[in-house]
Symmetry: C2
Subunit: 338 residues, 2 copies
Amino acid sequence: MLATILHAPGDVRYEEVPEPTIRKPTDAIIRLSATCICGSDLWPYRGLQPLSGPAAMGHEYCGVVVEVGSAVTSVKPGQFVVGSFATSDNTCPHCRFGFPSSCIEREFMTGAQAPYARVPLADGTLVATDEMPADDLIPSLLATSDVLGTGWYAAEAAAVKEGGTAVVVGDGAVGLMGVLAAKEMGAVRIIAMSRHKARQELALEYGATDIIAERGEDGIRRIRELTDGIGADSVLECVGTQESMEQAISVCRPGGHIGYVGVPHGVTFDGQRLFFAQSSLLGGPAPVRRFLPHLMDLVLSRKINPGKVFDLELPIADVAEGYKAMDERRAIKTLLRV
Amino acid sequence: MLATILHAPGDVRYEEVPEPTIRKPTDAIIRLSATCICGSDLWPYRGLQPLSGPAAMGHEYCGVVVEVGSAVTSVKPGQFVVGSFATSDNTCPHCRFGFPSSCIEREFMTGAQAPYARVPLADGTLVATDEMPADDLIPSLLATSDVLGTGWYAAEAAAVKEGGTAVVVGDGAVGLMGVLAAKEMGAVRIIAMSRHKARQELALEYGATDIIAERGEDGIRRIRELTDGIGADSVLECVGTQESMEQAISVCRPGGHIGYVGVPHGVTFDGQRLFFAQSSLLGGPAPVRRFLPHLMDLVLSRKINPGKVFDLELPIADVAEGYKAMDERRAIKTLLRV
């Protein structure tokens, strides 16, 4: 089959690879209904993350099971499933504690920007729907696999509460999903930091009450004004750079919570700064598997529409253009039709 | 009067200073019933924290009000009071949010290693007892002012829960109070890291279930063994060095909580390390004022005996020897009789 391989920074190709096969009895093979490009795929694409040889790209997925290993009991061929970008057995102590993304058996999915993909730990990782979902729900179901689950975790880690104030740093797809999550969790004031018109509009549609276009000191001052000089109860850091982390720390109130879900690249925290800021900090790969049943329900009952975050849709053969559009910020997130 | 002044690293003197006076209408003057030396006093004493000229030492205090400013309404001369090392108005948004140690009016107490001290923001800072406490309770009441309150915050920030597992990094006075707090909050396994016999014994008396004498990689391995390879639910970091912080991060389970209360000195966190460790981190100056009523009740009803942490008692005139004994780790904590 053809699949997406990153050969070097900027060099992504849709090319012939072997079809995935069952390697372990706990594997499943799925036929993807759609797939997409993640903001985190841009790190190696931009040369900001080391690449050791050609890499099979793609870790967000939903689709129909076509084959399962001999040990798989909870899903079967023909079922529509969604899984997390981080596979999990869903039984280990970390899974039971609510953090399947730190499962002792965890693998990070790869190779999902393709028509078929192998999903390890299928029993623990995949969640099946009762019936085949409507076509128009596919983008939103795909979103639950990572981008929505990650924005959701940002809001949870930032302890968003009914009636609270939330700031979302980052207007990428995860940040926009963070806005949606903060809204669902009952925040009454949701301040989105964004300088891009299309993203601002989507943020407002997802529930943002205020948009701050300023960055740096100006952005911090504006947020402090909006929060009566107090700072926000919850800050969702959805970028992963030193600058965005500084923003997050600077606008969080003492005793407030920062959830950071952008994989930190070159970020360090100064211990004393963090100490006196007195905000709680929780990050990490999102425990999406824990959220999946709830998020899939919200999508299937059409209560949320995270799929709107895909503002570019391409046939998967044009995946290189999908990367380019996201790299140049012409697209928020690219959906790939398989 | 005579009071404790740090002139330079290692040079602490009990010498003549002006008596404290009411400077603002919100001040109170107290006559100390006892005072003490804090582990954090050792940072400047050891030259590990810059000193800009002679410093009036001491921030832990309890005693009898002798004078109040014209605006003070909640305490009056003759009452026995305890206050936090961080003063607070107890009405600002940060105070109401439960973080009086980040009060917008906060001052850090100084000059309490003396017979008399000025307490700013007396209304918000001081908590009076109904009657004059018994003499033998003075050390424990003094402990609530900082060392117990700080250990208590470490346990709260580390989200110690009924039935949970807690690791306490640091066997100084704050660490020992952290053990006591974890016990009170219902932890069923409390692992104290200590290499000193006297401190180990006190840790056991305060509720530690296991003592780990090893440090570094060995200490981490031992704790991982004791927690079935999972790591602890809660880690109380009560030192403030890079090494102790590394220990804390390494023994906390994914989704677990680290409360750090040792003021970080030269500590940095690597963003990516912290991200993948996936533990929640909360530090800062302890919001002792919030805890004071409860902690004072526990002491007055003799349910806890934090005063045992004072294993050296000296007349305040011998304060220099008190510092020396703590610096050389001959004493856990020195109580000074005034």
